[in-house]
Amino acid sequence: MSRPVYMDNNATTPLHPQVRETLVEALDIFGNPSSLHGLGRTARQRVEEARQEVAAFLGASPDEIIFMGSGSEANNTVLSIVTCPSGACSLAADGANEIVTSTIEHPCILESVKCLEERGLTVRYVNVDSDGKIDLDEYKSVVSERTSLVSVMLANNEIGTIQDVRMLAGIAHEYGAQFHTDAVQAVGTVPVDVRELDVDFLTVSAHKMYGPKGVGALMVRKGVPFCPLIRGGHQEKGRRAGTENTLGISGFGKAAEMRALEMKAEEPRLREMRERLRDGIRDRIPDVRIVGHPTDCLPNTLNVTFDGAEGESILLYLDLAGIAVSTGSACASGSLEPSHVLLATGLPMECAHGSIRISLGRENTMDDVTYVLDTLPGVIERIRAMSTTYQRRAA
C-alpha cells in the first residue's frame, strides 16, 4: 500500500489553495503594470497590493521590497553590489572590500562569493559547530573595518539550524559593514521581522511559503546603498528591470497574507510531528544520527543519517512507498561530494552519504508521521542487509 506523503517542504511547498485561487483569477490580468491605461493600472494595483502584503509579513515598508525572479537572483544581486566600483552605490566605497560568510550557505551564495574571490575580493568563511551554529569567536575575529558585507543565512535548508542573526548583524554594524541574510528557508515557517533582526538586506522566496515558483523578493533597508543586477528598465524603481511577473507576484502576496494568518498556529503542530518522527526513528532504528541544533531549529526540519545506508537508495525506496524526502548524498545531487552543510558540521563523509532530510509542511498530519515510522525501518534494514559496511547485529 502506498499513499502520497510529501515531506520535502524545504525543497518547495505545494500551493496554498487560496494562493491557487488567486493565481487562477490573476491569469487574465494581462496588462503591463507600467501602462497608464486601465488594464495597466489593474495590474499595477495587484503588484502593489502584493508588495504591501509581503512587506507587512516581514515587518518592512513596501518601498523596501524589490520583487525578483527567485531567491537566488536576490542573493546574487546583493553580492553584485560589492564589486560595483561606483562610489554612489558601492558597499566597498571606503576601501572596505572583504566579505564574510559561512561555510553552510546555499550554493547561490557560495558560488557567487567564490566568483568574487576570483575577481580579487577577500572572502572570509566562518565555520559552524556540530549543530550548524556559527562559531561566534571565529566570527568576531574575522569581522573588521575591512568588512563591507556579511552574508549569513537565517535558517539552514538542510539541517534547519537557525542563526542568531540579530547578534551577528549587530557585530557587523559596529564595524560599519552591511548585513545580508538569506531567509528563504525561514520565512513562512518561523516569524521573521527585518527590524527586529536589524538586517540591511533579506532574501525571501515565494515557493517556500506555499506561493508560486519563479518569484522572490529582496528587502533593502531604506538608505542602504544599492545597485541593480538587471538593468534597463524603470520597474521596481529602477532597482530590477523587466516587466513585473504580475501573476507570480499576486500569488506571492496571497501566500504572505495566508502565512500571516496561519503560521503561528501551525508551529506547535509541526514541532510535535517532528519530535514524534525524531523519537520514533531513534526508537525503531539503531545507529542513526540527528544533525541540527536541538532547540534553535526550524520546527519542520529533521536531518537524519543512517550508518551503512546510502541516501539515494533510501530516498528511492521511500519514493516507491509514496514518501517524498530528500538526501544529502552525493549520488542524488549529480556531484561526487556529499552535502557541504553536513560536512561543515563535522559529520564524516561516509555518514553524510547516508543522510535524508525530512521537511514537514502545513498539509502533513500525524497519520503521515505514523506511515513514515512504519515504512522507514524496513527500508533501512533492507539497505543495510546488502551493504558492505553494515553488519546486522545479532538478534
Binding site: 546510502e310 528511492l316 548524498s329 549520488c331 564524516p348 552519504h353 546488502m386 558492505t388
Partner: protein, 203 residues
C-alpha cells in the same frame, strides 16, 4: 497527481526493487574468490564473491554486497547474473559498459556508480587464481588505476582508445576519467597518444 516515470530504466528499477544474489551470510558462502573495491567515503563500495567450478573453469555462483545508490545496487545485481556460468576468462573481460548496456543505460551523471562492480569481479577472479595457486593466470596485474577519483585504469583507457576515443573530451565522455579533481589530466592525455600510436600509427 500521478508521478511520471522513474529516474532510471525499468531494468534498473527491477534490480533495485528485487536485488538478485545478495550475499547474506559471507561465512556460509565459502567463497573461492573475493573482491572489494570502492570507498564508502566516496559513496560507493562493492564486494563481489565467487564460487568457481574448477573442471569447467566457470563461475558457479556469484554474490555481492553494495553500499551505494540505486544504480550501484542495480549494476552489482545485474553483474552477478551476468557472471554466473561465465568462463573466468570471459568474466574477466566484462566492462562497466557491458553492465550499463545490460541495465538498459544509465543517466549520464550516474555512470560512475556502475564502474566498480566489474573491478570487484576481476579482483575476485584474481583472488581465486591466487588461492588456487594459478598465479600465472592472473591477468592485467599491470593494470593500474590512473584516475583515482573515478577509478579508471590504463586498461580501460586503452579499450576506450580502441573504441574510438581520440581526445581527452571523448575519453571523458566514455570513461569519466579525469572529471573530478583533474590531477591525472596530463597523464591521461599522454596515454591517449601512447595507445593511439600503439594501435593506430601507420609505420
Amino acid at each position: 497527481m500521478m508521478a511520471v516515470g522513474w529516474a532510471y530504466s525499468e531494468t534498473v528499477k527491477d534490480h533495485f526493487m528485487q536485488p538478485r544474489n545478495v550475499l547474506e551470510d559471507e561465512e556460509a558462502f565459502e567463497a573461492d574468490g573475493r573482491g572489494l573495491t570502492g570507498n564508502v567515503r566516496c559513496g560507493d563500495e562493492m564486494l563481489v564473491v565467487i564460487k568457481v567450478d574448477e573442471p569447467s573453469g566457470t563461475i558457479a555462483d556469484c554474490k555481492w554486497r553494495t553500499f551505494g545508490c540505486a544504480s550501484a545496487i542495480a549494476s552489482t545485481s545485474v553483474l552477478s547474473e551476468m557472471g554466473k556460468g561465465m568462463r573466468l576468462a570471459d568474466a574477466y573481460r566484462v566492462t562497466a559498459r557491458d553492465v550499463q548496456r545490460e541495465l538498459g543505460g544509465l543517466p549520464e551523471h550516474k555512470v560512475h556508480c556502475s564502474v566498480l562492480g566489474d573491478k570487484a569481479l576481476r579482483q575476485a577472479i584474481n583472488d581465486y587464481y591466487r588461492r588456487a595457486g594459478l598465479e600465472e593466470k592472473i591477468e592485467q596485474e599491470s593494470e593500474r588505476i590512473v584516475c583515482q577519483c573515478m577509478s579508471v585504469s590504463d586498461y580501460e583507457i586503452e579499450q576506450a582508445v580502441l573504441e574510438g576515443a581520440r581526445t581527452l573530451y571523448e575519453l571523458q565522455e566514455m570513461t569519466k576519467v579525469s572529471t573530478v579533481c583533474g590531477e591525472c589530466e596530463g597523464e591521461v592525455t599522454e596515454l591517449i597518444e601512447f595507445y593511439q600510436n600503439k594501435h593506430f600509427s601507420e609505420v
